[in-house]
């Protein structure tokens, strides 16, 4: 599969490295050129030597999205550090490029739930943290 990840922070870069290791084609877009270093930690050579693609640009820039290969993506992951950017770019991926699998990280639990009902595949780390904390309290 060809997987496009927008936002290579801790989450995006870890998922990118995992996907590459699984044998997928992976392209990563981030506005910070230094994010490439995060992708290359624990790698023997460079990210590109390992088969990855890296593009510098912001999420809403069509040229950057196209350069990163959005038109042929099978899976799109929006994992920048901003909920609002993630929600907008995910909807662009879904509606303009008709990517079937669009996954979007949303920290705000209420909007994660609502956009989930609207047909986006949302992942809410905050909700996961709340659940795990509650379970830890019960188990204590």
């Amino acid at each position: 599969m060809f997987i496009l990840i927008v936002g290579a922070g801790r989450v995006g870069s870890a998922v990118g490295k995992w996907a590459l290791g699984e044998g997928h084609d992976v392209s990563v877009l981030d506005e910070d050129p230094q994010s490439l270093e995060r992708l290359e930690t624990d790698l023997e050579g460079t990210w590109e030597d390992a088969g990855g693609q890296f593009t510098v640009g912001t999420a809403l820039e069509m040229e950057a999205l196209e350069e990163a290969g959005i038109a042929r993506a099978d899976v799109f992951i929006a994992s920048t550090n901003g909920d609002n950017t993630n929600l907008v770019v995910a909807q662009i991926a879904q509606r303009r490029f008709e990517i079937e699998k669009v996954i979007v990280r949303v920290l705000d639990p209420r909007r994660s739930e609502w956009y989930g009902q609207q047909g986006l595949h949302t992942v809410c780390p905050t909700a996961v943290a709340i659940e795990q904390l509650e379970q830890a309290v019960v188990a204590a």
Binding site: N84, L87, V88, I92, D108, R110, R111
Partner: protein, 225 residues
């Protein structure tokens, strides 16, 4: 009318003041604490502190009874999402969004956020309006109503110069609505004569432009614009 304005920057604050002056009930939402403090000195309870992309902030402002939501923050993603939840989650009847970067206008359209107002575009249109050699100016695209209004200057040897409105054969689906001459404008009657140098406003169905502009352009040279 109850209006919620997201963003109390220059645009939001002035807009809020104008709407309050016209007798509307207005709540402004501002995310920057310092800016909020400044605006609050004048507008008091009519400005709330908070992030308008958060649902509870919108709910606290009473979005469920809002008749109009205007998103004029400096961030296009925020403006898109504020309008999207206003329209689709809270069923607010009317929304207006500000486009900060004209290149993002396509994203507003894709997600159904309209009208989306771009100051850059408005200024560009004003410039076009002030530069007569453009020949043809799009004043307004009434996209939802499938109508446009255009303005044309009548060339000296144009087909329509010296003829009455009645004699000018414009295609069905178009109408001359106003003539501007020597700084004055009037709504023409069938026997009003169109003179060279007049500026004529025409409302039309999209796509009819070419057939109309040809009649106002110089006979020998192609129409400008």
């Amino acid at each position: 009318m109850y209006v919620i304005i997201a963003g109390a920057g220059k645009v939001g604050w002035n807009l809020g003041r104008e709407l309050i002056g016209k007798g509307h009930e207005v709540t402004l939402l501002e995310n920057n604490l310092r800016r909020y403090g400044t605006v609050e000195e004048e507008l008091e309870h009519q400005v709330h502190y908070g992030d308008a992309t958060e649902l509870w902030v919108l709910e606290r402002a009473g979005i469920k009874r809002a008749e109009l939501v205007i998103a004029v923050t400096g961030d296009d993603e925020d403006n898109i999402l504020i309008c999207q939840v206003a329209k689709e989650k809270y069923l607010v009847e009317r929304i207006v969004a500000r486009v900060n970067n004209p290149r993002n206008l396509q994203h507003f359209k894709l997600l159904g956020i309209q009208p989306a107002v771009s100051a850059t575009d408005l200024i560009l249109r004003l410039i076009e309006h002030e530069v007569p050699q453009y020949g043809l100016v799009h004043l307004l695209d009434l996209a939802d109503d499938r109508l446009e209004i255009i303005e044309m200057q009548v060339a000296d040897d144009a087909a329509v110069a010296g003829r009455t409105v009645d004699e000018v054969a414009l295609p069905d689906g178009s109408l001359i609505i106003s003539i501007l001459r020597d700084g004055d404008g009037f709504v023409p009657k069938p026997d009003s004569v169109i003179e060279a140098g007049d500026e004529v406003l025409v409302v039309l169905d999209p796509g009819l432009e070419d057939g109309i502009t040809a009649q106002f352009a110089p006979q020998r040279a192609p129409a400008g614009g």
